[in-house]
């Protein structure tokens, strides 16, 4: 009868999916960090550890056959949550031909057209107007289908960005455009509280990011970004509205990154105590604890999920190691069509 149990209205299968997805990201990032330390991976590498509940919670609320995802440079978690094979992701970090962007994008530019994962963008906030354009295309197709300007869009677009990006003009320009043209755009600001080494409070005249939605007469909501179910529920509401009303929304997910901004960050701007306080509220441990309390997760199942995720990360490394480098001729391909 255990299968009948639920948590917050969600059944065990769904919850196990969330947990599995968060584990997969955590294990992948731990492995990516190790391989970076071994100099198998170069350049900028921004790890997502600590923020898993945001990508997993939001993306689980999407239908990726019609919805789209765009994000910034801390994109590994979003790509994996969309369903990207960890092998293709790790091979990209290695710069290999079998990488998700053929070794031409690297850590900051994960793309998967089939899974509607539209990048991986390295300029802070620049993906927000682009995401508005994807939402525009969804609305445009609905309107041209002959149902007038108020017809339902064909899906929604979710755009992730950080607390550093919300002050860019790109955010405000895109939000305004999405408002006047009624675009099904869900903006998710992952407030991990540190824009590189600068506290978000130091650079934000209004610390309530979700209130910024009011400036554009849009729906705004704050959610605990360490709680995957809360994120899922809030995202579901915003996405449903976006599709039904063709209206943008802003979701602030307060979260925390465990690692430095990138691999080269000594993290002198924050205390060990602050990091430990958030680790105590770890999104994976949090969901595991709640599922255990509800009798939805056994010790064996818990261990199995963890070791499965670690095995996938190991396999991803083995695959990336064994994959060939891109052909020299690849230098000149993909600049133009044909």
């Amino acid at each position: 009868m255990a299968e009948k149990k639920s948590l917050g209205g969600h059944d065990k299968k769904f919850l196990m999916g969330l947990l599995s997805s968060m584990h997969r990201i955590r294990a992948f990032e731990e492995k990516a960090g190790q391989m970076y330390g071994l100099r198998k991976i170069g350049g900028f590498c921004h790890l997502y550890s600590g923020q898993e509940a945001v990508a997993v919670g939001v993306i689980s609320a999407l239908d990726l056959s019609t919805d789209y995802v765009l994000t910034g440079y801390r994109d590994h978690g979003h790509a994996l949550a969309c369903g990207m094979d960890p092998k293709a992701a790790m091979a990209e970090l290695y710069g290999k031909a079998a990488g998700c962007s053929k070794g031409k994008g690297g850590s900051m530019h994960f793309f998967d057209a089939g899974m509607h994962m539209l990048g991986g963008n390295g300029i802070v906030g620049a993906q927000i107007p682009v995401a508005a354009g994807v939402a525009f295309a969804q609305a445009y197709r609905g309107r041209l289908a002959g149902k007038g300007s108020e017809s339902s869009p064909s899906g929604a677009t979710v755009c992730f960005f950080g607390d550093g990006a919300i002050h860019q003009g790109a955010f405000h320009e895109a939000f305004n455009l999405a408002g006047i043209w009624k675009l099904p755009l869900v903006l998710v600001v992952e407030n991990n509280q540190w824009g590189m080494g600068t506290s978000w409070k130091k650079v934000s005249s209004n610390e309530d990011f979700s209130a910024m939605a009011g400036a554009y007469e849009a729906h705004g909501e704050f959610v605990d970004g360490m709680d995957v179910l809360a994120v899922y529920d809030a995202a579901s509401r915003a996405i449903k509205r976006a599709k039904a009303e063709g209206a943008p929304a802003l979701l602030e997910a307060r979260t925390y990154r465990y690692k430095g901004h990138s691999m080269s960050d000594p993290q002198k701007y924050r205390t060990r105590e602050e990091v430990e306080a958030y680790r105590a509220r770890d999104p994976i441990l949090h969901l595991e604890g709640r599922m255990e309390e509800a009798g939805l997760l056994s010790a064996e199942e818990k261990e199995a999920l963890r070791s499965k995720a670690e095995a996938l990360a190991e396999e991803a490394v083995a695959f990336a190691e064994a994959s060939p480098e891109p052909e020299a001729s690849e230098l000149y391909t993909d600049v133009y069509a044909g």
Binding site: L118, A132, V134, A137, S149, A170, E173, N176, V335
Partner: protein
């Protein structure tokens, strides 16, 4: 053969492409209710409605980026910038998004979009509204850049640009919108990447594009009166460059002057001059000459602003230097 203005030719191209493909839409400041700041989009809102002809707020970065996303999702946006001066606010979206999306996604995404608007010196507009910025775009791999000088090319290149699967930046010339010229009846395309020989000549090659073509042709007439037959090559497309056409002409005449209204440093024209020097070295009888806009911001005073731009005496003088016939 109809005679129409450059503006009307652009309008006809937009109209035909909007009718041909419902993925095509036009957005920009004043393109709808106002019929276009320069009337290029006249009548299109009435014909195609507000879902396809969209007036934007004054947010060049925002609506340019929105166009990029719409193109990634399968539409074919035409983004009108009221002028290229204002497009500098959108530089990031063109350079870092539109131009690089195909490459950094490993070929997964195309950005079939056209960015267009007036460029180049006008009259009495001073530094911020009177400058030639084509070199900014032409610098960037992943972009194509066209710069038509005639109504027929404006029509044919815009149609090609809209059908192209890559981002195309179109440099229209503010001072040419009222220019009349013959445009063949019926639909035709001008291929991107093909230069056009505007005047045959055996003594030297004058290479240019966009509005200065007309000054260059006038200078060629003056040179003819002085006994020199200049060949005039109109590049029409700045990226990809029609290098074959350039070399074919210079290898015939052995002398070359490149004329641009843009600044001299790091410009399209200085790169063309380098290419000619590098690839026609054995055939050149004189150093390649460059006639550019003066290396200063554009002044307001009319006499000064004219002095800042290429003119017939400057071009003739450069040609005579290349001919070793300085007066």
């Amino acid at each position: 053969m109809a005679v129409m203005t450059y503006r009307e030719a652009l309008n006809r191209a937009l109209d035909e492409e909007l009718a041909r493909d419902d993925r095509v839409f036009l957005m920009g400041e004043e393109v709808g209710e106002y019929d276009g700041a320069y009337k290029v989009s006249k009548g299109l809102l009435a014909k195609y409605g507000p879902n396809r002809i969209l007036d934007t707020p004054i947010t060049e970065l925002g609506f340019t980026g929105l166009g990029v996303g719409a193109a990634m999702a399968g539409l074919r946006p035409v983004v009108e910038w009221m002028t290229h001066n204002f497009a500098l606010l959108a530089l990031d979206q063109v350079v870092n998004e539109a131009a690089k999306m195909r490459y950094m996604s490993g070929g997964q995404f195309s950005v079939p979009i056209v960015f267009r608007g007036p460029n180049g010196p006008a009259e009495f507009l001073a530094s911020q509204h009177s400058q030639a910025l084509e070199s900014y775009w032409t610098h960037v791999p992943g972009l194509k850049v066209v710069a038509p000088a005639t109504p027929a090319d404006a029509y044919g290149l815009l149609k090609s640009a809209i059908r192209d699967d890559d981002p195309v930046v179109m440099m229209e010339a503010e001072m040419l919108y009222g220019l009349k010229g013959e445009v063949p009846d019926g639909e035709f395309l001008v291929p991107i990447g093909k230069a056009e020989l505007r005047r045959p000549g055996a003594d030297l090659t004058l290479i240019t594009y966009s509005k200065p073509l007309w000054t260059v042709l006038e200078a060629a007439g003056e040179l003819a009166r002085q006994g020199f037959e200049a060949e005039v090559l109109d590049l029409r497309t700045l990226r990809p460059l029609d290098e074959e056409a350039i070399y074919a002409s210079v290898r015939k005449t052995n002398r070359c002057v490149v004329v641009t209204e843009s600044w001299p440093q790091a410009s399209v024209a200085s790169y063309v001059a380098y290419l000619v020097s590098r690839n026609c070295f054995d055939r050149l009888d004189a150093p390649v000459e460059l006639v550019s806009g003066e290396d200063v911001p554009m002044p307001y005073n009319h006499a000064l602003e004219l002095a800042a731009q290429p003119n017939v005496p400057k071009i003739v003088a450069a040609a005579r230097r290349a001919l070793y016939a300085e007066e």
